[in-house]
Amino acid sequence: MGIRFVLLVNKQGQTRLAQYYEYLTLDERRALEGEIVRKCLARTEHQCSFVEHRNYKVVYRRYASLFFLVGVDNDENELAILEFIHLLVETMDRHFGNVCELDIMFHLEKAHFMLEEMVMNGCIVETNKQNILAPIQLMDKAS
């Protein structure tokens, strides 16, 4: 399956974006988010970017106040996912110009569109920023 979920969470543990590629009930999601957020936020900079949780792994990266957490299968290539997070951030940067938490919060739909262009059914589908942003630009032009 590869990627199971992508979560953006701020320092206070508030969810800013959540996309799951396997269906979880609301309770399961709440429990999962609570557990992994607590685990990841408690870690220091000197620790590695991978946290094992239940039967999968969380690859995470911190940008200022935002944590990007990606849940993957145990045999996924961790560093590739780690850089995929950065690619997502760079893509957001290109669109918003120095993206910050507020951009993502108030442009929830755009963040969703970008992620939707990059990941489908838990697999990476596009890594070309221009292609990823094309539909959003199309929308912006239309409105």
């Binding site: 269906y23 000197h46 290539n77 929830l108 739909e109 569109f113 489908m120 059914n121």
Partner: protein
């Protein structure tokens, strides 16, 4: 602000953001949901723009973790909207909110299909994406041919085809039949010639899924994958936008190498040579660079290349090169690389014969076991486990044992299990196996699952040579103070069976063995009592000719337990007593346990059960399964997929001592004396290794101390005693750290129950769990660090009152972040007293020093055991204890009004058995209990309360016991509770009733016990 273009949405989001707390947020969200619901109800007036806005709000609310149980229809209906912005929202929100089985999805299948086969490619993309994310079987059946057509169409643009590729992957997973293998493998090969890297990325994922279930059919794709890899590695024809920090799509490179790992081998020499050229380049050419992202990306590729080389079983030279690289990685400073180095070494061990080269790094790996990062420690543990064999087992297991005492709470169980398995698999000699396991139980008893000690018993039973040694070892452990209960169990079992083999050694006569085991009896749980009883029976049986004195001692115990509350124990006591009087016949009946049928170690099973299945069998797992057989040592059945062992009706002679006649497979647990109902199967074993990172049990033992209704709030002691003490010391500190919850309340609650929180502040939580048996008690303090930094200078000193003997085990100086430390505290009650033991607890967090004095709930009622006394027994006793100082009476005023049932309830909580009917006057209460202390042993206490229905604030209390001090203390103790109990509900006292003089009406009739009682008073 020109925010999202949907003003209402922005306003809502910022409203939620400005909420001060969760409650406000909930209110705001509820209001919005109500608003949306009303708007949807009057749908007529809704413009598509409004609908879109509301649907986004729903998604936002859902993301925050609130249930959104309506409006799905509106979201789905947007899919049919003619315009792109609405349609897009419809598709995206639908795939977030609904799951594949939702009924609404069925209604839009046609719309979706029309979008897919239509001419508008943006619509095509939207539809393919949604189906790719949540399409189910029905979608697979009706859409697969269309999707396939799009994927291979030459007229479609890449942006549609890449989506079609992953959409097909979803449909294939839902129903593998949708892909017709015969024709499709050629198509796949063609697709791999694709120039566009987006399409290629998607097709590669599809290939991985296809090839993982059927390698044979896709052989023709192998050379194509190598070509793709060559193209990327040589950076030919890679558009700028697809390079990442100068590296041609690292993700596609990784995926391609992953696909290659599903092919067992590369036979064609040309292809093989090309592939190895590329791999060699990656292995040699990856340098450490300054830019983090570039470095990560190139190492992502490098690690995948390593995995592929291992898989391909390259020449010895290249393999050593790989191990050398990994060896370098596990000692670098960068934690990610260190983690991956360890992880990949473990994987390498599973697929390749590199044990010997990896062993050279053993020292470094052991160092990683002490890494500050738990993710890395965990990898190190896995690797040590995987690399262990007969040559290094001793070293590794000893390391694990040593580490056990300092390891994180979260890892100890896994650690213990792994050490036990290794000891079993690679024991150079059997006595070492016993040593290791007993050490395990001794050092980490709380983390040793029952399976471990069962296995020890099984091993010892099946190896005759081992029996005297094991018995001697077990005997030695019994001399240690503060033995873990599991150790008592295993020692008792082994000594019951084999202590006669030691009879000639000093200190090992049946009498001595019995005496030392019997010392433990008062403090153990009933599961262990059951085992001890079996052991006593066995000791009796082995002592031939019988020793009358020993016999008498043991019989006394059997008789004592004949009326024990636990049925299992009662039955054992009765039966052993009867059996042991059969003389010589006993030897046959209680003969030694027969050997256990060999079976797969339950420990190994436990470890294996943690394997989890993912949608695709990983390449590594597939491979390692083929080589798994050597990992099972004690298996005598084909590795079956079911996790439950087949019960083997082996030639097991049912031990006659086992009265229940359990099946052979159960014989082990049952006969050993673990009472089944007390000892249910350990929690789903997948959890054992699977979720060690789970939520820390910082919350302490279950049941927190707030809810008890009849908490006496204050006045347990006289006003200036410990109540004030605890608070006053805290208030001195109050400028720095404030406790959470009321410390006094917590104490009082714990006086009436045996587990809960004793103390909590922002840094630490102290939980408490207590077990009481006669005049002994065992309290366990759970010191949980709630923070991410350690608590230091931890100090705990118990200030015991004169009547208690208290022994606190070592409290560590430091409590690691988020860890919980357990400190057992042994209590012995010497005599009756209401004085309270105080725990002086101090620690430092950063610069904050905290010192609190906490009362320990080792109070008088903990040493009481309710006992029901019949009228025939009660009255003679009551009569014989006539007058002070053995019998004391007092009129208590200022009683908190409570009804008789309330009072009865309070007495029950205080361990006083209320016997209704003994006193005919319904306004009176009679209760009895046994008090235990070292000086009095068990002593019967009788209590009578006479209340005045017209004035519930006064009553007459009479206490009788065989010891003056006890009578006095108990009277004062009960008085304190009566005077202070806050009423949960106002007592239904008739307010207008006139005050009546104290003595209750005396009933007549000499045969009436109540009247007799009254007369005696």
């Amino acid at each position: 602000m020109a925010l999202s273009g949907m003003r209402g949405l922005s306003v809502f989001i910022s409203d939620v953001r400005n909420c001060q707390n969760k409650e406000q947020e909930r209110l705001r969200v509820d209001k919005e949901l109500g608003n949306i619901r009303t708007r949807f109800k009057n749908e007529k007036g809704l413009t598509p723009y409004e609908k879109k806005k509301y649907v986004w709000k729903m998604l936002y609310i859902y993301m925050l973790g609130y249930d959104v149980d309506f409006g799905h229809m509106e979201a789905v209906s947007l899919i049919s909207a003619p315009k792109y912005p609405e349609k897009q929202v419809g598709y995206i929100v639908t795939s977030c909110l609904l799951n594949e089985n939702h009924d609404f999805l069925r209604m839009v299948i046609n719309t979706v299909r029309n979008d897919i086969i239509g001419r508008n490619e943006t619509f095509q993309c939207l539809a393919l994406t949604m189906v790719g994310n949540i399409g189910g079987r029905e979608f697979a059946e009706s859409l697969a041919p269309d999707v396939q057509r799009l994927l291979i169409s030459s007229s479609c643009r890449p942006l549609v085809r890449k989506k079609a590729g992953l959409c097909l992957l979803r449909l294939y997973r839902k129903n593998a039949d949708v892909v017709n293998i015969d024709g499709w493998s050629d198509r796949m090969a063609q697709l791999l010639d694709e120039r566009d890297l987006g399409v290629l990325t998607s097709v590669m994922s599809l290939l991985v899924a296809l090839v993982s279930s059927n390698t044979e059919a896709y052989w023709n794709c192998l050379p194509k994958c190598v070509k793709v890899l060559e193209r990327l590695a040589r950076n030919q024809d890679v558009p700028q936008e697809y390079t990442y920090y100068g590296i041609p799509s690292p993700w596609l490179q990784v995926k391609t190498m992953r696909a290659l790992q599903y092919f067992p081998t590369v036979e064609d020499p040309n292809t093989r040579r090309s592939l190895f050229e590329v791999l060699q380049r990656i292995l040699m050419g990856t340098d450490v660079v300054k830019n983090v992202n570039k470095n990560n990306a190139s190492h992502a590729v490098l690690f995948e290349a390593l995995a592929l080389v291992m898989h391909l079983d390259a020449e010895k030279e290249m393999m050593s090169q790989c191990v050398a690289l990994l060896g370098k990685f596990i000692s670098v400073r960068e934690p990610n690389i260190r983690y991956l180095g360890l992880e990949n070494m473990t994987r390498m061990l599973l697929v390749a014969d590199v044990q010997d080269i990896i062993k050279r790094h053993q020292a470094q790996i052991i160092t990683s076991l002490k890494d500050p990062d738990i993710s890395i420690r965990r990898r190190a543990l896995d690797l040590l486990y995987a690399m262990c064999d007969i040559t290094n087992a001793k070293d590794i297991v000893e390391e694990l044992l040593q580490y056990l005492s300092t390891a994180d709470f979260a890892m100890r169980e896994e650690l213990a299990l792994k050490a036990a398995i290794l000891a079993e698999k690679f024991a150079p000699d059997l006595s070492w196996y016993v040593d290791v396991n007993l050490q395990l139980i001794d050092k980490a008893g709380d983390f040793v699952s029952d399976d471990i000690w069962y296995r020890v018993v099984q091993f010892v039973t099946n190896n005759e040579d081992l029996q005297p040694y094991a018995a001697a070892k077990a005997r030695d452990y019994l001399d240690k103070p503060a033995l873990h209960e599991t150790m008592v169990k295993v020692s008792a079992y082994i000594l019951g069976e084999y202590s006669h083999l030691l009879a000639r050694r000093p200190g090992c006569s049946p009498k001595e063995i019995f005496a030392i085991l019997n010392d433990k009896l008062p403090t153990v749980s009933s599961a262990t009592v059951a085992i001890l009883l079996s052991t006593y029976a066995k000791i009796l049986m082995h002592k031939q000719p019988p020793d009358p004195e020993l016999q008498e001692q043991i019989w006394a115990i059997f008789r004592k337990y004949e009326s024990y509350i636990d049925v299992e124990i009662q039955q054992r006591a009765v039966e052993y007593f009867a059996l042991s009087r059969k003389g010589a016949a006993l030897v046959d009946i209680l003969a030694e346990m027969p050997k256990f049928p060999e079976r797969q170690s339950s420990l190994l099973k436990k470890a294996e059960d943690t394997e989890v299945d993912t949608a695709e069998q990983s390449a590594i797992k597939l491979r390692s399964q083929q080589q798994m057989s050597n990992a099972l040592v004690v298996t005598d059945q084909p590795p079956s997929s079911s996790s439950v062992p087949v019960s083997q009706p082996g030639p097991v002679k049912m031990p006659s001592q086992n009265m229940e006649g359990s099946s052979p497979d159960q014989a082990m647990t049952k006969v050993n004396g673990t009472v089944d109902k007390i000892d249910p199967e350990p929690a789903p074993s997948a959890d054992l290794l699977g979720d060690l990172l789970g939520p820390l049990a910082i919350e302490g033992p279950p049941g927190t101390a707030v809810s008890e209704e009849q908490n006496p709030v204050s006045g347990l002691e006289s006003p200036n005693s410990a109540d004030a003490l605890a608070l006053s010391t805290l208030s001195e500190q109050s400028d720095s750290v404030q406790p959470i919850g009321n410390v006094a309340d917590r104490f009082h609650a714990l006086c009436l129950k045996d587990s809960g929180v004793l103390y909590e502040d922002p840094y630490i939580q102290i939980g408490l769990k207590a077990e009481w048996r006669a005049h002994h008690g065992r309290l366990v303090l759970f010191l949980g660090n709630k923070n991410t930094s350690p608590l230091v200078s931890v100090r705990a000193v118990v200030l015991p009152p004169a009547h208690l003997k208290l022994e606190l085990s070592m409290v560590p100086e430091t409590i690691p972040p988020r860890a919980q430390v357990q400190c057992p505290l042994e209590v012995v009650n010497l005599r009756a007293s209401r004085d309270v033991a105080v725990l002086d607890f101090a620690y430092k967090f950063g610069t904050t020093a905290v010192d609190v004095k906490l009362r320990l709930p080792a109070v008088l009622n903990k040493f009481l055991q309710p006992i029901s006394v019949s009228a025939e027994d009660f009255f003679p006793q009551w009569k014989s204890l006539s007058g002070p100082p053995l019998k004391l009476q007092e009129v208590v005023r200022g009683v908190k009004p409570m009804s008789i049932p309330e009072m009865a309830n309070l007495f029950t909580n205080l361990q006083l058995a209320v016997t209704p009917g003994l006193d005919v006057n319904p306004n009176n209460l009679v209760a009895s209990t046994t008090f235990f202390s070292e000086s009095t042993r068990a002593m019967l206490c009788l209590v009578r309360v006479e209340t005045d229905p017209s004035d519930r604030t006064q009553l007459r209390l009479t206490i009788a016991s065989g010891e003056p001090a006890l009578t006095f203390e108990l009277k004062e103790f009960i008085k304190e509770y009566l005077v202070s109990v806050p009423t949960a509900s106002p007592a239904p006292a008739p307010a207008a009733a006139p005050l009546q003089p104290q003595p209750p009406p005396i009933a007549a009739g000499l045969n009436d016990p109540g009247a007799m009682l009254a007369g005696l008073l």
